[in-house]
């Protein structure tokens, strides 16, 4: 019987032979760029946009706030340039833009609390719809928004300012940057380029 036990131990130790894909993975390889869109929306019906002047930082360890670090400035500049390259015209927040761009850095690294975009909207420090000229409104996060946990991420949201529904501003597109190094300024160019390139439907009628 000792042989049988030996073979059982052999079998139990099998998994130790496996190759760990996360070892030797570069930061670039670890990152994923997820884009989600509202299916019913025709993106060519929008012409103008405005972008937030700072980046919201939401965290499960400290108070949520807005920041304007060098990283944030670069993110704002890159996303604006990408929207312009898609044909949308950048105008002032007060000029009644069709679309609002909200930028958010998410820091969920220190616990595994589930995180749901709906939860941000109630938090002070996140963009109050008042910022976009819709005092008293809330945000509506459709079901295509995903749930993440235990990581740092960056979210770029396109909000429809033209068609509010039931006192809510509807998010029509979201890009989520996830993985190692998403908060590193050197990666902003490639990440922003990737999410706009893969969203081929995001364009104006021009």
């Amino acid at each position: 019987m000792y042989l049988m036990s030996a073979s059982l131990i052999l079998t139990a130790s099998i998994s130790s032979c496996s190759k760990d894909p996360l070892k030797n993975m570069t930061d670039e390889e670890s990152r994923i760029y997820v884009t989600n869109r509202a299916d019913s929306v025709d993106f060519t019906t929008y012409a103008t946009f405005s972008i937030a002047d700072s980046v919201a930082v939401i965290s499960n360890t400290s108070n949520d706030r807005r920041e304007l670090t060098d990283y944030d400035k670069k993110l704002i500049a890159d996303v604006s340039a990408a929207m312009v390259a898609k044909g949308y015209k950048l105008i002032a927040r007060t000029g009644k833009p069709d679309l609002a761009v909200n930028l958010t850095r998410i820091d969920n690294t220190y616990s595994s609390v589930y995180y749901d975009p709906g939860y941000w909207s109630g938090i002070g420090g996140y963009y109050d719809p008042f910022y976009w000229g819709y005092g008293g409104y809330g945000y509506y996060w459709p079901s295509y928004y995903q749930v993440y946990q235990k990581e740092r991420a960056v979210s770029i949201d396109l909000i429809d300012l033209k068609n509010p529904k039931n006192n809510q501003l509807v998010a029509i597109w979201n890009a989520m940057l996830r993985g190692s190094g998403v908060w590193n300024i050197n990666n902003v160019d490639s990440m922003v380029t990737a999410v706009f390139a893969q969203s081929t439907y995001l364009k104006t009628s021009n």
């Binding site: 042989l3 073979s7 998994s15 032979c17 190759k19 760029y33 884009t35 869109r37 996830r178």
Partner: protein
Amino acid sequence: MKSLKNWILMMIAFMGVQSASAQMRSPLSVNVDYSIAQPLGSLKDYTDKTSFRGWRAGLQYQLNDQLAIGIRSGYQEFFQKLPRAVYPIKGGEISAVQTRTLQVVPILATVQYQLTKPDAKVIPYVGLGAGAANMEYNKYYGEFSDKYTGWQFMATPEVGINIPFGQGSPLLFNASIQYTYSPYKIQEITNYNVVQANVGLRLHIN
């Protein structure tokens, strides 16, 4: 599990009567092989790389000069990393480096028929194994894994040769080719088809 229990009972019974049969080698043997496996069919759509990370080990009991039964386990890992690409998902897109792995741990009952008497210089054989395999499918998008584990039926016919290290030696060289099938279905895999080559040793111990 009932068949496994039967097998253990049979094993104990045969151990008791082994001295009754006059054989060239003791009837109980252990074998260990290094394995290389090539995916076929739909498994190739998931990973088409030959796996060089595999082994198998077993116990075998000789019922007479030519017929033997046994039990065998082992491990095989398939691994392939794909460069960054954009994949469609429900309601959007995902840009990622995909790492695709499949780890297979079979537990099989085996039967083997040797085509010559045990005093031959080369002992060709045919064999069949059947049982269950633990499959761990893990597709990584960047550092984020999409993992499924489960058990599935597995059957594997085999042809091979044993070459004793000298006449009557309890130690034999083994080389074999086996075909493995499992009706395993997950994501893009519609069944598990693999051709596997094994080289190793068999030692008669008791």
